[in-house]
Amino acid sequence: MGQAVTDRPGPAAVVDSDAEGTLLARLRRGDASAFEQLVRDHAARLLGVARRFLHNDADAGDAVQDAFMSAFKAIGGFAGGASLGTWLHSIVVRAALMKLRSRRRRPEQAIEDLLPQYTADGHRVQPGPGWCNDVEERAERDENAQIIRQCIDQLPLQYRTVLLLRDIEEFDTEETARLLGINPNAVKTRLHRARQALRTLLDPYFGAAAAVSK
């Protein structure tokens, strides 16, 4: 009856297929209590997703509201191939991306400034020592998790968005390309640059030199 949904974006959730089928039928009939149930079952998780993109409670709330409005309108055409949670996850990500696009862009650091630099013969300039062996243990501390989130926020928007969609929300390359309206190769390029840039931003905190100085 229940099946774990672990191969799709968003946090894994156990889906009761029968209960969801019943809810879907009620939604298609326009049952008001079914819409309320849908909202109460999923809004908290969708709000978490929206907050990861928007960081602002008001904007995140708006994105969730927009997402449910889109879902209500589209419920008649929902084929049921994915779970309702998975379907809603895609919708709220789209709503959050639209909200991001409508915002005034803040000044951003050029991504090139955050990428590795090379000598003429292809070696990295100032490669430095590697990272500490206990990087992931250190990242568990609250203050370090906050640093990591702040570094992600420093990435230029188009790169941060791809990082969030691919590495955090776990959309695949094709889905990410569709969500952003770009081609899959552009997704791959941006993802690699985003990861390289994030690595550069994290280096002062997690590099071996950082451990020595602490």
């Binding site: 946090p11 008001a32 819409f35 309320e36 909202v39 109460r40 809004a43 908290a44 998780r45 709000l47 978490g48 997703v49 907050r51 990861r52 709330g61 969730v64 509201q65 449910f68 409005m69 209500f72 590795p116 090379y118 013969d121 292809g122 070696h123 990295r124 490669p127 020592p129 590697g130 990272w131 990087v135 992931e136 990242a139 568990e140 998790a145 990591i148 989130r149 992600i152 990082l163 969030l164 590495d167 955090i168 190769n185 791959k188 993802l191 690699h192 990861r195 390289q196 994030l198 690595r199 994290l202 280096d203 997690f206 590099g207």
Partner: protein, 92 residues
């Protein structure tokens, strides 16, 4: 896209530079290189401490970002009631 020249370099560990390795790191980790290209990568990584360090920190970067955002408190314990009401009111 990987050009023919790039492929030649990727398949010859003697000519692969650190820059080339890092440029194609995403394809390497995604399993999108041929067996010969992977062999060249692995040979360069075995010889080059700086690239070994870079690969390890790149992998750590991916894991750190996932764990930092997975454990954040963005998901509320319960949905704010005013948001529920606003959504249901907008539907009418």
């Amino acid at each position: 896209m990987i050009s023919a020249d790039d492929v030649d370099h990727l398949e010859s560990s003697q000519t692969m530079t650190c820059r080339e390795l890092i440029d194609f790191l995403e394809e390497y980790l995604a399993g999108e290189l041929t067996a010969e290209q992977v062999q060249s990568f692995d040979a360069h990584i075995a010889e080059c401490l700086e690239c070994r360090n870079y690969l390890a920190s790149y992998r750590s970067t991916i894991r750190l970002s996932k764990s930092a955002l997975a454990r954040d408190d963005a998901v509320p314990d319960s949905v704010p009631e005013d948001l529920v009401k606003a959504i249901l009111a907008a539907r009418r």
